[in-house]
């Protein structure tokens, strides 16, 4: 346990120390309260400072409340500010006394000086007292209409503060809609930003209970709002830009033209010196291009340089945050970074949390062409004085060996590690050699020769010892001394603390016995006796099991304990691809730093809008914008594109503009158009002059995802879209979905087949989700492992009576079969919807084979 840290208990000489001081302050404040003598303000300042200082270091000075309020009658703005700070801090504990401040705060809210008005309003809203909300409504209302932008800025956030004190008061006073008007009209960008922040928070919190609020929340993501904000993006401060960019990342454009317009508009944000702006832009770009593989890849190429520049220009802390994001991208698409490996070399003065990230990146980007250099570099770190990093480096070498075809050179390096005679190096290496042998048994000869020379006395770490023992058992026929080394280890049985090592020893001796019975017989007896007497349950049980097995039949025992082994082809990943995808969805958040999705580290009430639902069990929520193209697939599928995109880039690049062009591949999801018609007037960008970024309808780019119309099978005439309009942005939460699913009885089941191209595209289910979204059919949850996938969709009819459609869709990609169950709240349109659903799915080559209505 850590010893207590000295904080307020050992104040430095300049700091007041406690009770006596507080009553002293009280007296002095009283003396000054009524004084009109010249210089009073100066003495008050000194006194107030002392009070604030005490407050800062944790001394409770709340007992001075009434004296502070009495002293606050002043025109001195510095004094006022200190007083506001004090009042804000202690009002909560003194609701009665806080009432005293209302008067002068309200008066200040009407001051001539906008600064005073703003400050007073901010303080008034910060009191956090439910009994005072009635006094807030008036000043807030006039604050929102104030002709000074500073006051409006304060008022916008003030509304949010009021909402947190009393949501009902805030909503009843109609503040949210006032904020909305202000957001869309105010000439001051910071006022707009504050309105947006406040509305996002209010509507997200209200959405749980009010349909209207969730519609309003969705409306923030609508085209008019997004375009309005984007058109003003340069007016916003860098921080407000982050806010807007975050919103843009959630926006779903209707077509690729829109995507390119947005990206061209935001292109120069990538050159911003503020890393937060750049990351927010990158998130937008990545999410906007999810459905366009090759543009998505261009984005990776484009963001590389700015990210690397930011990593090396900021403070170490900033670098770490940026590097974590780079790490995520490298892990998703290592191929795209394989030429940049030197950027991931460690510098000797970097903190270990940075080095660890870099080592993982080096491991990931290693391929045939750079492995030699990377491993050479890693070997340098293995000799490093920084022991944890040296260990990590050795592990990295091992991992590279396990993922490469040509391990020849690496095995040699690993064996050289064993010659370094450093305990921790030997320990790490032994573990690796063991794993290597499990994957590449053909190397046993070389490895065994070296491993045989290691004195087991120099190996102390349990994992390493277990590895050594495993090898002794497994290869006892090739190692002359094996039985004797094992035997000597039994002598120290009682001193061996690790149960893992004892278990391995048991098994190894048994294996050795099968191969070299005469030499091992004695050891076998000893180890079984020791094992049976062992106090550890597992060790005891295993010894007993072996003993009985041997008694029963030795050859059966051999088949159980030492069967011929298959080489391990792939060691399982530590992190599931689903988790990785969720982290990617949460790009530019703490999830990336912690390498965990947010539901693992945030409380429920602090999560964002679209979140994980525990009710739906193991299924993941179909997040609005998700990418599931696993890096390997992406790279495999687009080797040609790598060449293609660079050449394209060169053509369209201006003489010095680092920008790259985002060109359009064909993404023709709209061949069957059922999308609810856009009724809003189409807003457009004011500045469309981006000559370099022409939309290229390049039909030559192969349609990797199989989304193009050519995938749709010709024979089955795609059912023509019936006159059913769906709401483009329905709102339904997972628990309501479940409830409705149980309640609604009208259902339609059908079975169908999917073409092979369709199933190939479904290997990345997110493609389907996005595609369906284009048809106003939304996924609420999806899950499964290949070949079985399960999706839950929902949609909502646009016209009255509004009704939901719920769909369960089971797809088996190996048998190419699909089972669909549709439930409709409005039974009369169930067929119409089913046709819409089928036609949407027909892009994946879906063909209906028969259906039944229940």
């Amino acid at each position: 346990m850590a010893p207590p840290v000295h904080t307020q208990r050992s104040p430095s000489p300049s700091q007041p120390s406690g009770k006596g001081e507080v009553s002293d302050l009280k007296m002095q404040l009283r003396q000054l309260a009524g004084s009109r003598a010249p210089g009073t303000d100066d003495s008050k300042r000194e006194l107030f400072k002392k009070v604030i200082l005490s407050m800062t270091i944790g001394i409770d000075v709340s007992s001075l409340f009434s004296e502070m309020v009495m002293c606050s009658a002043t025109s001195d703005i510095v004094l006022k500010k200190m007083c506001y700070l004090y009042v804000g801090n202690y009002a909560k504990g003194n609701p009665e006394l806080a009432l005293l401040t209302i008067n002068f705060l309200q008066k200040d809210c009407r001051d001539q000086d906008p600064m005073i008005r703003g400050l007073a309003l901010r303080c008034l809203c910060s009191l956090r007292l439910a009994n005072l909300v009635e006094y807030l409504v008036g000043p807030l209302g006039s604050g929102l209409k104030d002709n000074n932008s500073y006051v409006r800025m304060v008022a916008a956030i003030g509304v949010l503060k009021l909402y947190h004190i009393s949501a009902a008061t805030c909503v009843d006073a109609d503040f949210p809609s006032m904020l909305k008007t202000l957001m869309l009209n105010d000439p001051d960008a910071q006022v707009v930003a504050n309105c947006l922040s406040a509305l996002q928070e209010i509507w997200s919190l209200e959405a749980g209970t009010s349909e209207e609020a969730s519609r309003e929340r969705e409306a923030l993501l609508s085209k008019p709002v997004i375009y309005y904000l984007l058109n003003r993006i340069k007016e916003f401060s860098e921080w407000a830009q982050c806010l807007v960019l975050d919103l843009v990342a959630k926006y779903i454009p209707s077509d690729s033209n829109e995507i390119f317009d947005i990206m061209n508009l935001l292109e120069d944000r990538l050159q911003h010196a503020n890393g937060a702006v750049v990351l927010a832009t990158i998130k937008g770009f990545l999410h906007l291009t999810l459905s366009m593989t090759d543009v998505h890849q261009q984005v990776y190429e484009r963001i590389k340089a700015p990210l690397l520049t930011l990593v090396s220009s900021g403070s170490q802390e900033q670098s770490y945050a940026l590097l974590s994001h780079l790490h995520l991208l490298v892990m998703r698409a290592p191929m795209l970074f394989s030429l940049d490996y030197k950027h991931f070399y460690c510098q000797y003065n970097e903190p270990s949390y940075v080095k660890k990230l870099k080592l993982e990146m080096l491991t990931a980007v290693a391929n045939e062409s750079n492995t030699y250099e990377i491993v050479t570099e890693l070997c340098e770190y293995a000799a490093n004085v920084d022991v944890p990093i040296a260990r990590e480096s050795i592990r990295a070498v091992g991992k590279i060996a396990l993922q490469q075809y040509d391990v020849n050179a690496i095995v040699d390096r690993l064996l050289q590690f064993l010659e370094m005679e450093k305990d921790y190096v030997t320990a790490e290496t032994l573990v690796l050699v063991k794993d290597l042998l499990r994957k590449y048994p053909q190397w046993s000869h070389d490895c065994i020769a070296v491993v045989g020379n290691i004195s087991s006395k120099n190996v102390q770490e349990p994992k390493a010892k277990a590895a050594l023992i495993w090898m002794l058992g497994e290869y006892s026929q090739d190692m002359l001394d094996a039985p004797y080394i094992l035997e000597s280890l039994i002598d120290n049985w009682d001193d061996e603390h690790s149960a893992e090592v004892r278990l391995h020893l048991l098994t190894a001796i048994l294996k050795c016995f099968f191969k070299r019975p005469p030499e091992t017989q004695k050891a076998l007896g000893a180890v079984l006796a020791a094992g049976l007497a062992d106090s550890h349950q597992d060790v005891h049980d295993r010894a007993l099991f072996y003993y009985r097995l041997l008694q029963y039949n030795v050859s059966v025992a051999e088949r159980v304990v030492n069967p011929p082994k298959q080489a391990v082809s792939v060691f399982p990943d530590t992190q599931s691809s689903e988790i990785r995808d969720r982290i990617f969805d949460e790009f530019n958040s703490l999830s990336v730093i912690y390498q965990k999705p947010s539901y693992m580290f945030t409380d429920k009430e602090h999560r964002g809008s679209f979140e994980f639902s525990e009710d739906l069990g193991s299924l993941s929520v179909g997040v609005e914008s998700a990418d599931n193209i696993s890096p390997a697939q992406r790279v495999e599928a687009s080797d040609n594109d790598l060449l293609l995109s660079t050449s394209e880039e060169e053509e369209s690049r201006g003489p010095s503009n680092n920008g790259s062009a985002y060109s359009a591949p064909i993404y023709d999801g709209s061949s069957i158009s059922v999308v609810a018609s856009q009724t809003q007037s189409e807003p457009t960008f004011q500045n469309r002059a981006f000559p370099a970024y022409a939309l290229q309808s390049n039909l030559a780019i192969d349609d990797l995802l199989g989304l193009g119309p050519q995938v749709a099978p010709a024979p089955a005439p795609a059912p023509s879209p019936p006159p059913l309009n769906l709401n483009a942005r329905p709102v339904l939460d997972p628990s309501t979905f479940q409830r409705k699913w149980r309640q609604v009885s009208a259902s339609l089941s059908q079975e169908g087949v999917i073409t092979s191209e369709g199933t190939a595209a479904l290997m990345t289910p997110q493609v389907l989700l996005r595609h369906m979204q284009g048809h106003s059919i939304h996924c609420i949850a999806s899950g499964g492992q290949p070949p079985n996938f399960k999706f839950f969709f929902y949609a909502q009819k646009a016209e009255e009576p509004v009704a939901f459609y719920l769909v369960e869709c089971l797809i088996n990609t190996s048998s190419a079969k699909a089972q669909i169950e549709i439930k409709a709240e409005d039974q009369s349109t169930i067929h119409a919807f089913s046709v819409v659903f089928q036609s949407a799915l027909s892009t994946f080559g879906y063909q209906n084979l028969g259906e039944s209505l229940v």
Binding site: M82, A305, P306
Partner: protein, 450 residues
């Protein structure tokens, strides 16, 4: 959404503590400090971001102070860390010198700043310029000369006497003792270089991370024009970024990439490499750049370790300054880890060496060689005799090194990027503010393997 911002001294005292949302317990500063101080054993340092019981803690360390922020929400870590750095910068703009003493003296001012920078967890502004109209406390200036110098400003104070060393440590709001403000502007080209030499002395990797930093004390915010090398080019057009052969031997300066401050207009940058800007008050980076083009490293390092009888070895370190003799590097420190079983070291300097210090750090088995200055073109050698407590392993080379080096070279920049001129839009004929353009190169990671 940020819940709290606080500043702690390295002993853990709260100097400033501001709570914005009241959703994180008040004891967070103590919890944080304890966690950072007693971080897991196998990691030397707490990472700048961590989560403890649902609260996320962010911190940056500057000038012996910890600037900390907490939140419960899954925010953008870059945003919060960038914000903390910006709060540091604004505070420094106001106080002139940032350290524990100046912060303690001005904590009320810092509260005032924090009140305007963040409202209910949302960032309002971090511009020193804008904040000026909201902040009323006068900074209490601490005497910079008395204090150990910190930050990039510090490197200008040593060596070059032409520089008004204290100028960069004056507050943007405080007036000079004379009452009038001195009209001046500083443009600093600061480059951090990283080089790794292989054991045979050839360059494995090299990179320059540069910043053009500006600090303006001009009244009325006149427009400024900054011209860089005309042949400057950006981006390495598809070629491998480590393709040295193509760019060796003089010629154009090729940056891999760069980014710019918001205030910079790039309209004429593509044509004649000039940057137009209206500098806001305070210190800010005009441009950050990164370069992997080959450059001549300022120092060559030669290190050798040889056995010299049983239980003994000798280390020879040779440093050669590969730059012009009118330039002087300062505060040079050369370090080299030696075999872990070394228990005694005796040093032998060249005859007539001045300003050299040598040390054997027993705890981490490292020898250190400090030199006050190195004049361009000179060469310096250190011999160290090591005594071992056991028979050394066969491969002594693998037990020692690599050699690392830190230094500062004023009036030198490795990239050859230059500010050709600095034009200030004239208000009148007599208006002629002081303009300082300064260069400095520092080692970031300068390593030679043996």
């Amino acid at each position: 959404m940020i819940s709290q911002i606080f500043v702690l001294s390295l002993r853990g005292d709260n100097i400033v503590f501001r709570d914005y949302r009241g959703d994180v317990p008040k004891g967070s500063a103590e919890i944080f400090f304890r966690k950072v101080k007693f971080w897991k054993e196998d990691e030397e340092e707490a990472p700048p971001v961590f989560n403890l019981d649902g609260v996320n803690y962010f911190h940056v360390k500057v000038a012996g102070l910890l600037f900390v922020s907490t939140t419960r929400v899954n925010v953008s870590p870059s945003l919060v860390l960038e914000l903390l750095q910006r709060i540091v910068r604004v505070t420094k703009d106001y106080l002139g010198v940032l350290n524990e003493d100046s912060l303690r003296k001005n904590f009320v001012l810092v509260y005032e700043l924090l009140d305007e920078v963040i409202d209910f967890g949302y960032v309002q502004t971090t511009s020193t310029e804008l904040l000026k109209s909201y902040v009323f406390n006068e900074p209490i200036v601490v005497d910079a000369a008395r204090l150990p110098s910190l930050g990039p400003a510090a490197m200008f104070m040593q060596g070059t006497k032409k520089m008004p060393g204290t100028a960069v440590t004056k507050s943007v709001v405080a007036n000079e003792p004379g009452g009038r403000k001195r009209e001046e502007i500083f443009v600093d080209i600061i480059e951090k270089i990283s080089v790794t030499f292989s054991s045979s002395g050839y360059i494995l990797t090299s990179e320059i991370d540069g910043t053009i930093q500006m600090k303006s004390y001009l009244t009325g915010n006149p427009e400024i024009r900054l011209a860089l090398n005309e042949d400057l080019s950006i981006g390495r057009d598809g070629r491998s970024i480590y393709d040295y052969s193509s760019s060796a031997g003089g010629g154009a300066v090729i940056l891999d990439d760069c980014n710019f401050h918001e205030s910079v207009h790039l309209d004429s940058f593509d044509i004649d490499r000039t940057l137009n800007l209206v500098p806001p008050d305070g210190e800010f980076p005009v441009m950050n750049y990164r370069m992997t083009q080959e450059f001549k490293p300022p120092f060559r390092i030669n290190a050798l370790i040889e056995e010299a009888g049983s239980f003994r070895a000798e280390v020879t370190l040779k440093i050669r300054a590969d730059f012009s003799s009118n330039i002087t590097a300062n505060t040079i420190l050369v370090q080299m880890p030696v075999p872990s079983y070394t228990n005694r070291v005796s040093f032998e300097l060249e005859p007539g060496a001045v300003g050299n210090t040598t040390d054997f750090r027993e705890a981490n088995k490292r020898i250190e060689w400090g030199l006050k200055k190195i004049v361009g073109g000179s060469e310096h050698t250190l011999r160290a005799k090591l005594t071992f407590s056991q028979e050394p392993h066969a491969n002594l080379m693998k037990e020692a090194g690599p050699v690392s080096m830190t230094f500062t070279i004023p009036m030198y920049n490795a990239s050859r990027l230059q500010v050709k001129y600095l034009q200030i839009a004239k208000k009148s004929k007599t208006y002629n503010p002081y303009r300082w353009v300064r260069y400095v190169t520092q080692a970031n990671s300068y390593v030679a393997r043996i």
